[in-house]
């Protein structure tokens, strides 16, 4: 059982300023969208691993990634079926669909799916850091400082806080239903949908009751009382944090530079390209990945500094 709740594991990454982590996530996303070459995307996905290991949230990461893999599989299958532009035909369907033409499965179609799955994996992997290594209250604070509307940020933050409660609630209702003789997983598809609907209705009304109560409690403590909200805790940027931030920005700039100088591009259609890289391209890619991993390396430094 993996709980999707934030828990402070006290690692160097947990203790970093949330801005550093947010900037790092953004940098991975930008890089993942920038490059098309599957080697770049594969190595970029893998280069998120040191950060995940440093947060000691690999169990949670694994369970998220299981879902991500399933999603990728779906992308590959659907793209293979829908896209018929490639030139290496692996299978030609014997039927013709009006307007769409004759569907066929091509090598290019499959490879496009794989390449873009790698892109998605890199992004999802980076976002697990947001879920498991940024304190939700800090995240909220950072969002408010980034001039997002305070109320909306608060509501978003609250709704994530109540997800575990919702899961417990659903379990409890399912137990109550089973105790009344309902076989949740029995019968045909329609019967099962009906059975699960019987959980959804009490779950929804319980959640609405809960929402009213939370709103009442917040109102009673003067939430939204005009004026600029102050903050008990500030997000202080230490020297190490600033160094990390500059490395993260540098990695984005370096990525853009590489892409503009023609590296990391790739064409799937109409004929799939070869993926070989020159020695200098390998070297540049290595530097880029090192820059992406500047955060966990420098974070270790922070521990040293804070002990002094």
């Amino acid at each position: 059982m993996v709980s999707y709740k934030y828990s402070d594991k006290g690692t160097v990454i947990h203790r970093l300023n949330p801005w550093c982590k947010l900037a790092w996530i953004v940098s991975v996303c930008i890089l993942a969208l920038l490059f098309d070459n599957p080697i770049y995307l594969l190595l970029l996905s893998l280069s998120t691993l040191p950060v995940i290991l440093a947060t000691r949230a690999w169990k949670e990461w694994l369970s998220v990634m299981k879902f991500a893999f399933f999603l990728c599989l779906l992308i590959i299958v659907i793209n293979a079926l829908v896209s018929n532009q490639g030139s290496h035909v692996l299978y030609q369907f014997p039927v013709t669909i009006p307007i769409a033409g004759a569907p066929r499965i091509t090598l290019e179609g499959i490879l496009w799916g794989v390449g873009n799955s790698l892109r998605l994996l890199a992004i999802i992997s980076a976002f697990t850091v947001l879920m498991f290594a940024i304190h939700p209250d800090d995240l909220m604070l950072a969002m408010v400082k980034a001039k997002l509307p305070c109320k909306s940020v608060m509501v978003t933050s609250l709704s994530t806080k109540f997800v575990p409660t919702l899961i417990d609630d659903a379990q409890c209702i399912a137990d109550a239903k089973k105790s009344r003789g309902l076989e949740l997983d029995k019968g045909g598809r329609i019967q099962r949908v009906k059975s699960y609907a019987s959980i959804a209705i009490p779950l929804l009304s319980n959640s609405l009751d809960r929402a009213v109560q939370v709103a009442e409690a917040m109102e009673s403590r003067a939430f939204g009382s005009g004026g600029k909200r102050t903050f008990y805790k500030e997000l202080k940027l230490s020297k190490v944090d600033i160094t990390i931030l500059s490395f993260v920005f540098f990695s984005i700039a370096f990525g853009i530079f590489l892409r503009c100088s023609g590296q990391g591009g790739y064409q799937y259609y109409p004929i799939v390209e070869a993926v070989s890289l020159t020695a200098s391209e390998w070297a540049m890619l290595f530097v880029l990945l090192l820059l992406v991993n500047a955060m966990p390396i420098l974070a270790l430094l922070k521990r040293k500094v804070s002990l002094d």
Partner: protein, 589 residues
């Protein structure tokens, strides 16, 4: 200072007023206990005090409510937040941040206090409530009692003059409730904060209050000092749970006029009763003729804390087993262990038999394994090791649905049970799952609806009924299948006394035809009055299992009020194993 004049309030869409012609003045520093049957308007009145009514709820309001001279209809809840602090019933739904210290800062941040001021006030609030040790903890990890104390601290940081608590203990275990009430009493004593406390269970708080107000059908039906209110017979009729000690005093008073005042605590009761006993003839000779009460208590006085540890209950365990041994057990638990997926060992090698006709109360602290144990009885949980055999069926080999024919399980929150469009459908749903349909089902449904007095609501939407009614529908939806065993998980939490008593009387009847009732509860008074066997769990093990009289008398935390009194009066010949007011009255007669 709160001043309410001619207050009448209708919720929007309501055709009956929730509050009717309320006139009330509450002075600074008073400790007011607000009580009355559910649906009486207690929560509505609380919500008028900080402007949630009418600003949050809307509705129609007439009359005047003034808090420190401010009209609540003209000043918003936010403005009133620094005067009136509100603490709500459910600890889950009033904490909004992840960490305790930020929770305390939340209100101050909203009111745009400077960071330095916030820091100071957070420290003060942590210390005042005595939760400094929790400051860096995540709120989701705290126990109910701790959460409720955090909620109190978080409103206290706003420096309110008035603290309004709407049933703050109804979701808590006795220990958590005790902690919360201690804090509230201290705030009133030492800081002079006006306290308005809504409570069903009066025994714990009544002694500390200056004033008791009873609200019924939106009107104030009694208002005065606790002694006079609680000794007033009319108040008892309204369903307010009169503490057993006062019930006892009333009975004694009506016999002879030796009791001049109404005792509110065990200590006062002890003194008053001792005085009465001294004036009358010795009791020892008389009650020995009483077969229902044993005289064991007159023997060697065992220091109470050690009573359980010394294992003097072994005898009684055997006694209860031999008594039932001729019957085949309905439930047999053999060396049951349960380990949750996260590695928590909740039940550690429990052996237990439940026979037909038994009314078993399963008690213990929070997380002692009570719910885990009973969830094995209908197969919701399967043993990690060991077996649970239910009427020759091993629960490992049956689904919950199959077992539901034999075992009914009522969850604590009736809302988890209800989802059909009408009360009648709710009952039909259960029968339908058990393949009882059409003409066969109709008489069963009708009979059950009648028994639970639900005929008038048969076509109503169940979730719109009141709390007590919902509980009855939930119970009816289980009992319509006439299971041999019925399990209730904390059914009386937050329930008013009258409803509790009705429910228990019904359960008492239900077990007579060879069925068994298993009640998970932390309510000692209920266990003492209605069960006949008590199983006390601690850390996943059975600590004591025996007749209630053996288990509940001479226990420290798990002993009812009257038993504590009886213990103290043993030198006057009162048996030490008396548990309820009625037994005590009988013994004194």
């Amino acid at each position: 200072m709160i001043s309410i004049k001619n207050l009448t309030f209708y919720y929007s869409g309501g055709d009956k007023p929730s509050l009717r012609d309320i006139d009330l003045e509450i002075h600074d520093g008073e400790f007011v206990l607000l009580t009355g049957p559910s649906g009486g308007g207690k929560s509505s009145l609380c919500r008028c005090l900080n402007g949630l009514i009418p600003h949050f709820y809307g509705g129609k309001i007439t009359g005047k409510v003034e808090v420190n001279g401010l009209d609540v209809t003209k000043h918003s809840t936010k403005e009133l937040a620094t005067m009136v602090g509100m603490v709500f019933q459910d600890p889950e739904n009033q904490l909004v941040t992840v960490d305790v210290d930020r929770e305390l800062a939340f209100g101050l941040e909203n009111l745009t206090f400077a960071k330095e001021v916030i820091a100071r006030r957070v420290e003060e609030a942590l210390d005042t409530v005595g939760i400094a040790s929790l400051r860096h903890r995540a709120t989701s990890e705290l126990s109910g009692g701790e959460k409720q104390r955090v909620a109190i601290a978080s409103v206290l940081a706003l420096y309110p003059d008035i603290l309004v608590l709407d049933e703050p203990t109804s979701e808590l275990d006795p220990k958590g409730a005790e902690d919360v009430l201690n804090v509230v009493e201290r705030l009133n004593d030492e800081l002079g904060i006006t306290v308005i406390l809504v409570e069903h269970r009066l025994d714990r708080v009544v002694a500390h209050s200056d004033r008791v107000i009873v609200l019924e059908k939106g009107m104030i039906t009694a208002d005065g000092d606790p002694r006079s209110i609680l000794s007033d017979g009319r108040v008892c009729q309204s369903g307010v749970g009169i503490p057993p000690i006062i019930k006892l005093a009333q009975a004694v008073k009506s016999k002879d006029n030796l009791i001049d005042n109404t005792p509110l605590t065990v200590k006062e009761g002890r003194i008053t009763l001792a005085k009465t006993l001294r004036h009358s003839k010795p009791f020892a000779s008389r009650h020995s003729e009483h077969p229902s009460l044993s005289l064991r208590a007159e023997g060697v006085a065992i220091p109470r804390p050690f009573a359980i540890a010394q294992g003097d209950n072994k005898e009684s365990v055997i006694a209860s087993e031999t008594k039932q041994s001729h019957l085949k057990p309905l439930i047999e638990v053999k060396k049951l262990w349960h380990v949750y997926p996260d590695g928590f060992v909740a039940v550690k090698g429990i052996d237990l038999k439940v026979c037909p006709g038994e009314f078993v109360a399963i008690m213990g602290r929070n997380a002692s394994g009570k719910t885990t144990l009973v969830k094995h009885f209908n197969g919701l949980l399967k043993p990690t090791k060991g077996d649970v055999v239910l009427d020759d069926i091993n629960t490992k080999e049956a689904t919950v649905a199959e077992l539901s024919r034999k075992v009914g399980y009522v969850f604590q929150n009736p809302n988890d049970h209800l989802f059909c469009n009408t009360v009648e459908e709710e009952l039909a749903f259960t029968l339908n799952n058990l393949e009882v349909q059409g003409e066969e089902a109709k008489p069963l449904i009708k009979q059950t609806l009648e028994r639970f007095d639900l005929m008038q609501y048969r076509y109503q939407y169940p979730r719109f009924l009141s709390g007590g009614e919902k509980q009855r529908v939930a119970l009816a939806s289980i009992l319509v299948a006439q299971p041999q065993v019925i399990i209730l998980d904390e059914p009386t939490r937050g329930m008013e006394y009258r409803l509790k008593a009705e429910l228990m009387k019904f359960l008492d009847q239900y077990r007579i035809d060879g069925r068994a009732v298993i009640l998970v509860t932390q309510d000692v008074e209920i266990a003492a009055e209605f069960s006949d066997r008590v199983v006390l769990l601690s850390e996943g093990k059975i600590v004591v299992d025996g007749p209630k009289r053996e288990v509940l008398s001479r226990a420290l935390l798990f002993s009812p009020q009257i038993n504590r009194l009886a213990q103290a009066l043993r030198s006057y010949g009162i048996p030490g194993d008396i548990l309820t007011a009625d037994e005590m009255i009988e013994a004194l007669a």
